[in-house]
């Protein structure tokens, strides 16, 4: 088996993504977890680049960098600065969870190992920004518009919530 550049890049990026995910679960401070989350999301963007989905990769970073910043700010503002997690659970539970993970990994391995994906030649990687745009505004126009209505409703809702709070503060 030869190591192609793509393979090396994939292994590096996948490792970063998985390590980020594991650290997200294991770290104790909120801000540390958010940093782990950043690494996971950026690594996933890297995987999109490897799949030649450049537009999706750039949007992934663009959207999530704002979103994670907001999560981080909430994490800083809504949690205690020196708060620690409650102590870890007992030994038996750990062993059971470990067995569960091994079983799941085994099942997935069995399922994937002989799974035959038919190689179909596509033109999806060429000019994919334009292709996404065309699909979005012709074939998927109704879901797209529905999503924008949903976002608008969320925006209006958040404005109303913020307004009410201010009025309450004035009355007091």
């Amino acid at each position: 088996m030869t190591f192609s550049g793509e393979f090396l890049a994939f292994m590096g990026i996948a490792l970063v993504a998985i390590i980020g995910g594991v650290l997200l679960l294991n770290l104790t401070k909120v801000v540390h977890m958010v940093v782990a989350l950043i690494f996971t999301f950026v690594a996933i963007a890297g995987i999109y680049v490897l799949l030649s989905a450049e537009f999706v990769a750039a949007v992934q970073i663009l959207i999530y960098s704002g979103a994670i910043t907001i999560i981080m700010l909430f994490g800083i503002m809504l949690t205690k600065h020196d708060d620690e997690n409650e102590p870890k659970t007992g030994k038996w539970r750990k062993i059971l969870v470990f067995l569960g993970i091994v079983g799941f990994a085994f099942a997935v391995y069995i399922g994937i190992y002989n799974f035959n994906i038919e190689q179909v030649s596509t033109a999806l990687h060429e000019n994919n920004t334009m292709q996404i745009g065309k699909a979005l505004y012709s074939k998927y126009i109704i879901p797209f518009e529905l999503t924008s209505v949903l976002l608008l409703a969320a925006l209006v809702g958040s404005i109303i919530l913020a307004k009410n709070e201010k009025k309450g503060a004035d009355n007091e």
């Binding site: 190591f3 550049g5 801000v31 940093v35 950043i38 949007v59 960098s65 910043t69 700010l73 800083i76």
Partner: protein, 334 residues
């Protein structure tokens, strides 16, 4: 050349070539930063009727920045006792790395470009948004209230001004029909986008100053309110990394404005074609950098609430109106 390298089978030779190219670009950028800082201090000096640095390195103070960097290298490396050590160490690196990554797609001339990817413009804006993590993390990890306030301001400002920044270039994207920076440049052969998109350019320029954290939008690090904002507790080389990130962004943003609005390496008139593209690029680039310095010398700082209002209630509606207008003009005339 890069295309061939990317498609060849991997080996140590490829790694060496890529590493060397990266190192050369880094040296060029460091050279720019060294003399960009000196230029900024000299121009600010003359605008405020004084001389600026004129002692180290001859009459023009040519070695002043080099001496400053050496001083920063020799300084004691201080990590506050109450700081969050791992984050405190990693924050300057997180702030700096994206600033260098964005340079990869920048077409300096038609030959001198590292990665010609289809979504170059979007890539720049997306990756440059990652720097804000470094600032917020640095502010939080310092365990200092001024630093935290600076980090918070940085986050709010970067997110708010990223939106008008993206919206204002949509006009250019509409006219070009592509996000690729090379195509944007070649599309400007018959007229720069600063002429076709004046409103978009002004909105983009204002939002870019806010993204660069320069006066009048330097609230995250305003000296006289927050001492120095998110990098109060930093000293020595870690502080230098934050400064480096800021000036590399100045380099990158000036290059981006040159590419997107000022026609990149193209000559302004056909008969001036004999002058190489690199010279044109350097000239336009220097003008943009000069305007940034000029604005810093002339405008006072915004108030924090005004800054938010300006971004959301002025720039964003104007940018949206510009998109609408551009779409209308495109469907009528082009």
């Amino acid at each position: 050349m890069i295309e061939e390298l990317l498609q060849s089978s991997p080996g140590w030779a490829n790694f060496g070539i890529f590493f060397l190219l990266g190192a050369v670009l880094l040296l060029i950028v460091l050279g720019f930063v060294t003399y960009g800082i000196l230029a900024e201090r000299k121009v600010l000096g003359y605008m405020q009727l004084r001389h600026g640095p004129n002692q180290v390195g001859g009459k023009w103070g040519l070695l002043q920045t080099v001496a400053d960097v050496l001083k920063l290298l020799l300084k004691e490396d201080i990590i506050p006792k109450a700081a969050d050590k791992p984050l405190f160490i990693i924050a300057p690196a997180i702030a700096f790395a994206p600033s260098f990554m964005v340079l990869a797609t920048m077409p300096f001339t038609d030959k001198f470009q590292f990665a010609d990817i289809g979504v170059g413009l979007l890539y720049y804006i997306a990756v440059s948004g990652l720097t804000v993590f470094g600032m917020v993390l640095g502010g939080w990890a310092s365990n200092n209230k001024y630093a935290l306030l600076g980090g918070m301001r940085a986050a709010a400002q970067m997110i708010s001004y990223e939106i008008p920044l993206v919206m204002s270039v949509l006009g250019v994207i509409l006219l070009t029909g592509s996000l690729n920076l090379n195509e944007i440049v070649t599309h400007q052969e018959h007229g720069w986008f600063i002429l076709l998109q004046p409103i978009g350019f002004i909105v983009f320029f204002i939002a870019s100053i806010a993204e660069l954290n320069r006066t009048p939008f330097d609230l995250p690090e305003s000296e006289n309110e927050l001492v120095a904002g998110y990098h109060v507790e930093y000293s020595g080389f870690r502080w230098a990394f934050f400064m480096l990130a800021e000036y590399v962004y100045l380099f990158a943003m000036s290059a981006l404005i040159t590419v997107v609005f000022l026609g990149g390496w193209l000559a302004p008139f056909g008969f001036l074609d004999f002058i190489p593209g690199a010279v044109w690029f350097a000239l336009k680039f220097s003008v943009v950098v000069f305007i940034y310095i000029w604005l810093r010398a002339t405008l006072p700082r915004f108030r924090a609430d005004r800054l938010m209002e300006f971004g959301w209630k002025v720039l964003l509606p104007i940018a949206l109106a510009n998109i609408f207008l551009t779409a209308l003009l495109k469907s009528l005339f082009f």
